[in-house]
Symmetry: C3
Subunit: 484 residues, 3 copies
């Protein structure tokens, strides 16, 4: 431990943080948390780069660890007038960016007050105090001290990715990988003999979006991997089925699909052939793409019946809505904004076709909380194939997670949900996110106990389900002998 200069305020993670303060609720919540806090982390859905663990190279500095990769940080500071390039984020349009990581860190530190009461603020405190063991409250005055202390930590072998993976107690970590990914990093990981379980997830969005300019490049990559031209939709689908088998051989248990609208439904054969030809000719329209995607999702569900990959659907975000930010920083830079999303009618074709089949597990996420109680809980409380994904993105926050539980559990029960998934690309924030989620669930369950709706023993069992058993079971990590 570094001896701290007295001028910096200590950063203390209160043992009761995020728990409802009413004494009966808090007492029950503590008992539940005591049972769930030590459980391993199952992370079936996230965006950590597998090369991080394949290479196991040390992190270099606080800025590249905490500031540069986190678009939650960029968006909040940008909304308050701080240019994203001033945070050290490289640009694509030639705009100069801050090249001094310490200067970028100071700029970040001077604005951490913006995160008061936000999950980003909570995760940051956890990463500093617990993960990096730098228990100093970050602000403009302490910026340099914290920066240097983090640097010291990162130079220590105990803070390299694999060591942290072990310290975090991660039982399994799923990454997200394009359908055309070679899975080289995953292969390298397995070849290295390291015991950590890291598996890919099959995400074929790029080859589904037939109206995009990049589609033909992705399609060509798929042809190259298939070793054959793919002149028809059937050939294209066969190639994807082969990729799915390869992903499964590398341990994958799931697919993932991002759409704006969760429309599903079969196209007539002629119409499907027309869309595919238009894609090949580079003339597919956004409307073609929408109808193609609806059909594509039907086929992905059908393939899941055979290969057992759990199907995940993430609808409802309008992507990359700020052209200036898109040109300067590329996609996923913080200007993705949710839209109202309809599930009842959109999912019906897929559910009517495959929703009664016990071989299918379809995990549906939403950014539109109005659908929790109105559509998703009633759907999940009926269809055997359907499970509700964890509160996602803008909603895996204290209030957001409480709203999810309060609005879905009474109709769907907790068994039709998947428990918590962290969905993060920030490796170091994984335990912070699971800690927060377990606290919120403990607090919610504690309130059921304090209201005499559920006994404490049952509540503890429910807590374990949410923290561990449900994600493990839903994503089929409990099935021995699957995968390679």
């Amino acid at each position: 431990m570094t001896t701290l200069p007295v001028r910096h305020a200590p950063l203390v993670l209160h043992p009761d943080r995020f728990l409802d303060p009413e004494p009966g609720t808090r007492r029950a919540a503590r008992a539940i948390l005591e049972a769930t806090a030590p459980l391993p982390i199952v992370s079936p859905h996230g965006h950590v780069d597998p090369r991080l663990l394949a290479d196991d190279a040390p992190f270099t500095d606080a800025t590249s660890l905490i500031v540069v990769p986190d678009h939650y940080v960029h968006r909040m500071l940008y909304s308050q007038g701080v240019p994203i390039e001033a945070l050290g984020v490289p640009t694509r349009d030639g705009t100069p960016h801050e090249r001094d990581p310490r200067a970028a860190w100071r700029r970040f530190a001077a604005h951490v007050h913006l995160f008061r009461g936000t999950p980003t603020g909570a995760w940051l405190d956890h990463v500093l105090a617990e993960t990096l063991q730098v228990p100093v409250r970050l602000d403009a005055a302490s910026a340099d001290h914290v920066y240097d202390a983090i640097g010291e930590r990162l130079a220590d072998a105990a803070f390299r990715p694999r060591a942290l993976f072990t310290r975090f107690g991660i039982e399994v970590l799923a990454t997200t990988d394009a359908a055309t990914d070679t899975l080289a990093a995953h292969a390298a990981l397995r070849a290295s003999g390291w015991a950590g379980r890291v598996v890919p997830t099959f995400r074929p969005d790029a080859v589904m979006r037939i109206a995009r300019a990049e589609w033909r490049a992705h399609h060509a990559a798929l042809e190259a991997l298939a070793g054959t031209p793919l002149p028809t939709y059937d050939a294209f689908l066969d190639a994807l089925a082969a990729r799915r088998r390869l992903f499964r051989a590398h341990g994958a248990t799931a697919t993932d699909h991002a759409v704006v609208t969760p429309a599903t439904g079969h196209l007539a054969a002629g119409e499907l052939a027309r869309c595919y030809s238009a894609a090949l000719a580079g003339t597919a329209t956004p409307d073609d793409e929408a109808r193609f995607a609806a059909h594509f999702l039907m086929d992905m569900a059908r393939l899941s019946l055979d290969d057992g990959l759990v199907m995940q659907l993430h609808p409802g975000a309008l992507r990359d809505t700020n052209p200036l930010v898109l040109a300067r920083f590329g996609m996923d830079a913080g200007a993705d904004i949710p839209v109202a999303t309809e599930y009842t009618r959109n999912l019906l074709p897929l559910l009517q076709a495959y929703g009664n089949d016990p071989r299918l597990t379809l995990v549906v996420f939403t950014l539109d909380e109005t659908t929790y109680a109105r559509e998703l809980a009633p759907l999940a409380g009926h269809w055997p194939a359907l499970r509700l994904g964890a509160p996602w993105w803008f909603h895996d926050s204290p209030e957001g997670m409480l709203r999810f539980r309060r609005r879905t559990s009474e109709t769907a029960g907790i068994h039709n949900t998947v428990g918590f998934t962290d969905d993060t690309r920030a490796f170091c924030s994984i335990p912070a996110r699971h800690d927060l989620a377990r606290r919120i669930d403990a607090s919610w369950l504690g309130s059921l106990v304090a209201r005499h709706q559920v006994g404490l023993d049952d509540a503890i069992e429910m807590g374990r389900l949410l923290a561990y058993d449900l994600p493990r079971r839903t994503y089929r990590f409990d099935r021995a002998g699957e995968g390679a």
Copy 2:
């Protein structure tokens, strides 16, 4: 009381169940509940079969009492992979169903953990411990014991329907009856000399849905009851007005109408005649049906001005969305899913025509909670004719009822709501549902007291309004000398 073997855990209904645990709130809530718990039950909207009370036959066993008729139970177990036929529910498609009620009960008991934290779980506990006086926690191990204990109770005359009606303290119970129902069961009830007040509700949905294959059969039944052909819409409407008078003569005070979209508005005469002719010819389209229904609701409101029947509108559920379940079990088997529902524009034609008229009471329900604060409370806080129905179906749960109060009361006040209605077909669950609702309202009112927003005396008065006076007044059960 049966002496319990020691191996089964006791089922105790905590006196403070569902009350907010904060001491000030709970203290006030207890005082409110003390005033509301003894009040009679007014049940102006439900689906109990009147033959149950007309025949007064004993219930036969736990499964046919609790499991077979409850689609909340079917849907949850089905969502977790239990076939509905395995619960003893008879099928229509020749699929064999479980014919041993004890085996079905064991299957149910092995899955009751799915209902933890759900209203179905809470109602079940109340039915067991209080209504049936079998205070044993149900699980796989206690299944047989509980089954037998319930069987013992049901053999006792004190557990026959009319005795329970009296024990439940039901002041009045409204059933739901098709426009073409002969009301024979209601007539038999009245003829029996029994003092319980059971009244029908006029629900003409089947004759409104002109695009359905079954429409012509319902129409023919209406012609038979009218004793005359109904070749024109005017004749059709006259026949319905006559049915309404008959319902009123049997004590009815209300009508009920289920639609997907609450669209209202007059059709031009020619267009109306065309729709009606298409219906007679069996060529009406779903679009014809939608426009016909909008007009039909206008006429139902107009008739209410004259005959004083309170008009209820239940929109927003897409019905029978699982073809496999529909074919096997028929309608209302748990695959009804809500959709987003618009009220502000849809109700305007009806409200502009009749909403200022003190003779009309229009009670509007919703499955779309987003409309509570945005549309329904502002509408009810303005139009003299409009009242907000109780939180319904998926939403008469602890959290659901709290959301309703918190989102409607500040704009509409409680006087523009109808208090609680149980909406159940499960006769034995009626007191459980009223108990839960009174507890949630007491807790909500207690929180207003603890925040010094309302004095305790006023809160007690509000509690009595919600539990008793408002449903009684809104549904006009307080008006002497009406009906037959």
Copy 3:
């Protein structure tokens, strides 16, 4: 102080009213409130008539002060069957109205129980007990006593508008004024030498609504003020820019725009000219108006870049939906009902054009709470120009304000909100509304403290921001030397 007859119950404002009762939360909330309660009132958005302060005439009686101008009161009593004219509100259609203010007051007093648990009830108690210093609980029995006591107060010079303005601690009050308003009252106020800061707000709705019958009269008024015909859209826009400059010279810092849908987007020049010509010819359609408004908002944002006026957008209310009430009482009489509102796609054209520009501040309000977490917080947490307006109209209630904080703060932070704005036309209710808002914010912040999410010192700073600094800063009242 009047000596009260013993028969009337005292009206006591509890020092902890509206604070969460959980002891830890309440303790923190009290500490926060202690810091925020004494802060001056900044009221950047409201509807007080500037002549009230220009004339400084005494208020005449309780009814004309409290009942006649408050459409929240009218709508609730009307919904329960009390004619609006019976409350002393003058009619436009010849219907006789109650001319005895005491009789109208008695009618109001006999119905105050309808406001239990509503913000109107809370504001009324505050106005009586604190502002008017008549600490008697109002009901039918105390009606005359309270009426007389208020009359006594109003005769006192300490209860004239300017004296109250000073007593209320108002630092600045913005009114709302048509684009064609001469600002005579504001000029008179300034000429009077009185030190109170009262500024206009530029609201050009009437000249934007080109399909309305009244448009040509408003346009003619604009031509008269411009001293020149305005045959083209460019000339029209120049005239408006000149009006904006004049408003600024009178101290205005903001514009305000009410629309049903917040659509924005440039029209092609030919299309724009066609719409404007149609307006001049009196042939513009509602569709023309909608597209014209979308373009008009783009130009208003562009003008704000230059003149620095903060742009406010208030969408989502369907206005004057009750023809009977409209004919009898005119606009804004309580029959305005919200509709679902879409922001993500509608605001994009404006944000893509101007949202990255630090010169623009766009404050967006909503009546559709579903957009808080789904659209508005993500938008405000990204775009530098965007700020979230306070919960508005039906939503500046205890539960409504809590929902706003809970659903926006985690994604947008509080710095992307504008703090509280009272939006009232009832001058005497201003301190009541700020008091309630400060209490709710203190309670919300106190809950963050009790959950160890935020330290008490930070929470106090956040409370001051919400109560004072954010509205002052967002509406640019902190910029010296601006305006005239």
